[in-house]
Symmetry: C2
Subunit: 678 residues, 2 copies
């Protein structure tokens, strides 16, 4: 018999001999009796199309990685700063601009208010980063707002935190990408009008990189952060020198005597809006506290030092850029093409169209793309944690060939790209939806820490309790401010977060219910069932596939009958005669179907069979054996088996029913039983 060889067709002859002696060798490593470890070869697709696709995937995403290849690398502080801070630090590229965009609505006289507003935000940053230092110490295993809330607060709070974070990560991608593209356009105005295209292309590239299993730990990720930091600090230094020493620039015009007080004329709402817009500067501050396990020992201490350095740098950048923009009277320009505030500051300091300006714009765009990339680690990882906890579909926790959480990455890209398209790649339009998620998750994690200290009451807990309490109160207030001041777009998020929470609870109940329904006792033997088996073979006529299916049916049980759904009586009579001749031992039931339905009458007939059983007896398990002609390509799939697919779907919902798909392949003749009609 040549079948085993046929199975192994396409491999080298030398290999083949080895295989037949130790048949598992090609696919598995032998690990004991009945115990194998699959090699990469076991997952290689069997069809030419499948192999072709796999090869394409390999080129795009790299070869599959084994679980054992997952590396654990510890980061020194300097590298960790670069890698974990890109999200937070990059927000200095647009935070000033967002404040000015609100204030400019009230006239140039109001712009001066940007300085106190930025100072208030910097203060908030100081409080929040101090609070997060403590989270790093208390939860050195990382985990972020969801983990802290899960450990200390009711589950609903943890789910709100998780939803806020998911929204936050999506918005990080959308906002950072659109801001990066605006930096590019500020430098190369001829690209104006291509925002959405460039942004989506960037997201596609980042997606491919992450599906390849891109790790943030590469040196390449540290470079843009330091270049941007260096360029910004230099720019601020030169700017301050020119303003304070050289007397360049001018403070914005003071209000005319007798003019209304700006605070008064602006209205407090506008000031709150400017504050809310600027508070995006804080997004990403939590990244270091979440990533403590990646630091070198002692992890919490190193992380805390890095967090402080990050907060100080971010504060300097944000305040410095705001001050310089103010001194030179810079406001955002939209016509004829976008010119971001930071690009105007760079042009002022490094010189319009100078090499320094172009370099700085490049660094700015790079760190913003990098910030978008950080969400590609955080979002799928949180999705997988939620999936393992049963709050997201299980598929979110499946890792692809390259150990990346494929589904989470794809969802993140699709949603973020859609936002870019819907909002035309406009950063300012996206901002109102950004901050809400950020501050809700801050407030919940700080509240969790408050509960944590109350429960633990370790030495010095009062001080820690006070710090996190202040953080919780402040960030909670800011969350409300952001929600109210930046309505109505921010309200969209206020709807999305509860909906997400609802979906998670729903999913969790589903899984919990199915777990209960499927649960069996842990101990004791499960003996074989004692139920009778009955076989029903729906036949479309008599052909090889049918002969094969009937034989499979006969192997399962002697209680077998074939059912033929006929369109009219003439067809029925002919079939009955031929069937009686060729399958004398298998009774045939003919159902005429004047409404041309196939599935309905068959299901009805199965019900009739069940109803015929005498009451008080267990119903037998009904094996419905469906002959199928195996489609060898997509067009054959259109030409054949449409009916058996529908039949299968309908039968799977029926109790006590088992669906047996019997594929017929041309290379598989029933030995002796079938001979083609000459």
């Amino acid at each position: 018999m040549t079948e085993p060889q046929r199975q192994l067709r396409g491999r080298k002859p030398a290999d083949r001999r080895v295989r037949v002696e130790r048949p598992h060798a090609g696919f598995f490593r032998y690990a004991g009796p009945g115990q194998f470890v699959a090699r990469e070869a076991a997952s290689v697709p069997r069809t030419p199309v499948g192999r072709f696709l796999a090869r394409g995937r390999g080129v795009l995403f790299g070869r599959p990685l084994s679980n054992l290849e997952e590396g654990e690398e510890r980061l020194p502080k300097k590298k960790a700063l670069a890698i974990f801070s890109s999200d937070a630090i990059s927000s200095s590229a647009y935070a000033t601009e967002e404040i000015l965009r609100v204030l400019v609505l009230a006239g140039t006289g109001a712009l001066l208010l940007s300085l106190p507003i930025a100072a208030a935000i910097a203060l908030l940053l100081a409080v929040v980063s101090t609070s997060y230092r403590q989270i790093g110490y208390a939860y050195p295993s990382g985990g972020g707002a969801y983990a802290v809330a899960r450990a200390n607060l009711p589950m609903i709070a943890a789910l709100v935190a998780a939803s806020s974070l998911l929204v936050d990560y999506v918005m990080t991608v959308a906002v950072s990408t659109s801001s990066a593209v605006e930096q590019v356009i500020s430098a190369v105005p001829s690209l104006h009008g291509l925002q959405v295209e460039i942004g989506v292309a960037a997201i596609v590239l980042i997606t491919i990189g992450n599906l390849r299993g891109l790790r943030e730990s590469g040196n390449i990720f540290a470079i843009p952060t330091y270049l941007f930091l260096g360029g910004s600090l230099l720019m601020i230094g030169i700017g301050l020198w020119r303003i304070l020493v050289g007397g360049e620039g001018a403070l914005p015009p003071s209000p005319l005597p007798g003019a209304p007080d700006p605070l008064h004329s602006l209205g407090y709402l506008l000031i709150l809006r400017a504050f809310a817009s600027g508070s995006v500067a804080l997004s990403g501050v939590e990244a270091i506290a979440n990533g403590v396990p990646a630091f070198q020992k002692p992890e919490p201490k190193n992380a805390a030092a890095t967090l402080t350095a990050m907060a100080v740098l971010l504060g300097i950048l944000f305040l410095g850029i705001t001050f310089i923009a103010n001194s030179f009277g810079i406001v955002p320009i939209d016509e004829p093409t976008t010119r971001t505030v930071i690009s105007q500051v760079a042009a002022k300091i490094y010189g319009e169209s100078s090499i320094g300006f172009y370099l700085y714009q490049t660094f700015t765009a790079l760190i913003l793309f990098l910030a978008a990339n950080t969400s590609y680690n955080a979002f799928p990882r949180l999705g997988a944690i939620l999936a393992r906890d049963g709050y997201m579909p299980r598929q979110m926790s499946y890792r692809g060939d390259r150990l990346a959480f494929t589904l989470g990455i794809v969802i993140l890209s699709v949603v973020a790209s859609s936002l870019l398209v819907i909002f035309g790649g406009n950063t300012t339009a996206l901002i109102p939806m950004y901050s809400v998620g950020v501050f809700v998750s801050f407030a919940i994690s700080q509240s969790g820490m408050v509960r944590h200290w109350l429960a633990e009451r370790a030495g010095g807990w009062r001080w820690r309790f006070a710090v996190n309490g202040l953080g919780a109160v402040l960030t909670g207030i800011v969350a409300v401010v952001v929600l109210v001041a930046k309505a109505p777009e921010s309200l969209l998020v206020a709807v999305i977060i509860p909906v997400l929470v609802g979906v998670m609870i729903f999913i969790h109940r589903q899984y919990a219910r199915s777990r209960v329904e499927l649960a069996v006792r842990d101990e004791g033997v499960f003996p074989a069932g004692r139920r009778h088996e009955r076989v029903v073979v729906p036949v479309p006529g008599i052909n090889r596939a049918v002969v094969h299916a009937v034989n499979v049916g006969r192997a399962i049980s002697d209680d077998i009958e074939a059912v033929f759904i006929a369109e009219d009586a003439a067809e029925a009579t002919e079939m009955r005669a031929r069937w009686g001749r060729q399958f004398p031992d298998v009774p045939l039931v003919v159902v005429e179907s004047p409404y041309r339905a196939l599935v309905g009458p068959l299901l009805a007939y199965l019900d009739v069979l069940d109803a015929r059983m005498p009451a008080g007896r267990d119903l037998p398990v009904t094996f419905v054996v469906v002959p199928e002609y195996v489609a060898r390509s997509w067009w054959e799939r259109l030409l054949y088996n449409q009916s058996s697919k529908r039949l299968r779907t309908a039968l799977l919902g029926r109790p006590h029913t088992v669906v047996v798909n019997v594929p017929y392949r041309r290379d598989e003749a029933e030995p002796g039983a079938v001979a083609p009609h000459a």
Copy 2:
């Protein structure tokens, strides 16, 4: 035992008792031993959602019809004229316009040429309709170009005819609908700009009507034709009176002396193009000859008389409208809004904005929509004939609940709507693609008749041979003229027709091959196979679904083993220990899958099992028993069983493998075997 009752839940208690005694009564009529006829109730969906959808379908499309309800109605000549001629006669609403649109490119002096061109087309109409009278006599069972070609010419010609007809029918829908909408807009200019929307809405309505199983035989279909005919004849009569007797209107300005001869200046190509555009007037002429069986006896004679009447009426309308348009110097107007030639003629004769004008425009639009509707009978019917002959996917021959060929109707609507959208609902843009199919099918059917007379040589055959020969030559020439003169759009059709033919041949080969592969001898008994059965149960853990699946597997064969694909060694060890305790009689094979793949390692393991078999022995049939948790809704389908779906797809391609899907439903405990873990 309450299972049968549970099955019958939801029916009236009185019924229920009857059912249990005669369990088939609700679903079937008993027609002898093992012979049932399904009632409508047998096809009623089982799920609430299914029933809801069925109810919605019922409202939209009507209740299901039995095969026995298909009526056969014979049409009197007057009604037949109205029903079969709407396509042909309605083309007089745009044929003149299409001639003028070409000639106007050469200046107003050239417009006079429309009269001789229209006369030439009328002559062609006379020849073609005489030829088709003979087809009606020779093929009284109807069938059209495809049937005639199949009987007399090589198959390839029949397929070319079929493809041309399919294209022709699609174009009839697109052109008639767009022209109808243009008539509406000519009367109600404020609808300008909504062409596509109105056209697609009309197609949707026609589609719903036809999915309801709309019959053309209703009186309602006769009315618009006669109203349009009456209105047109009246209009032409008044017009001729006013021109010839009242001296109104004027012949177009004669060319100035010394001006170039219009024929010369136009160039012959432009004249040919005008002729080709106008020849759309002939589309639909074949409908009566195809519909002979629907006439009262003697069918061919009545059909021939009706055909002649139709041709005469069409000729009068076409020539009359062309003459009046010429006399009043009417040319198509596009700005500021479309005004069709026929609407301008009607405005001239009946008075601008008169009630007569609006009525006439209504009739014109109605007969054009009716013409579109005729394709909804012809296209799906031809598709079903092709499917029965094996040249189209079988689904094309399935009739839906209302006896309509659902798939054909849907395809026709989708393609025609797409054309409307792509060409912006512009009749003139669609016309070049229309005539090619029409004349190719004419030429092929006439050629088929030539062969028919040559083969038959009955009395008087020479005369008939000559008529069809002339028809074949003329329509063949016109087909070439249309193809060349109206390029490049017409060339698109010249590509589509061969592609369609290629697809049909491909489908036919596929079906032929599968028939050969599946063929079994007609006589002799098929005994049970003598192959060994082996059962493999892939298990994701131990739960009720798994217990159920293992029990099903044990029922099939004693040669059973379970396969557990583990992510890591720890998981494997734990599972092995528990399995050994709870299923001591079922060996467990554990495959560690460090690449996290599920399907690949399982397939590889099955190959290993096969390869282990000693050479020379028949391979056993492998039953892969897949436990499934039954999804009760679409969201559950997302949450569960994604893996088993992929597994099933992969296994269906494997030789000697049978896939057994064992659904687990919560209401189906394995008696005695399972108790939830308390």
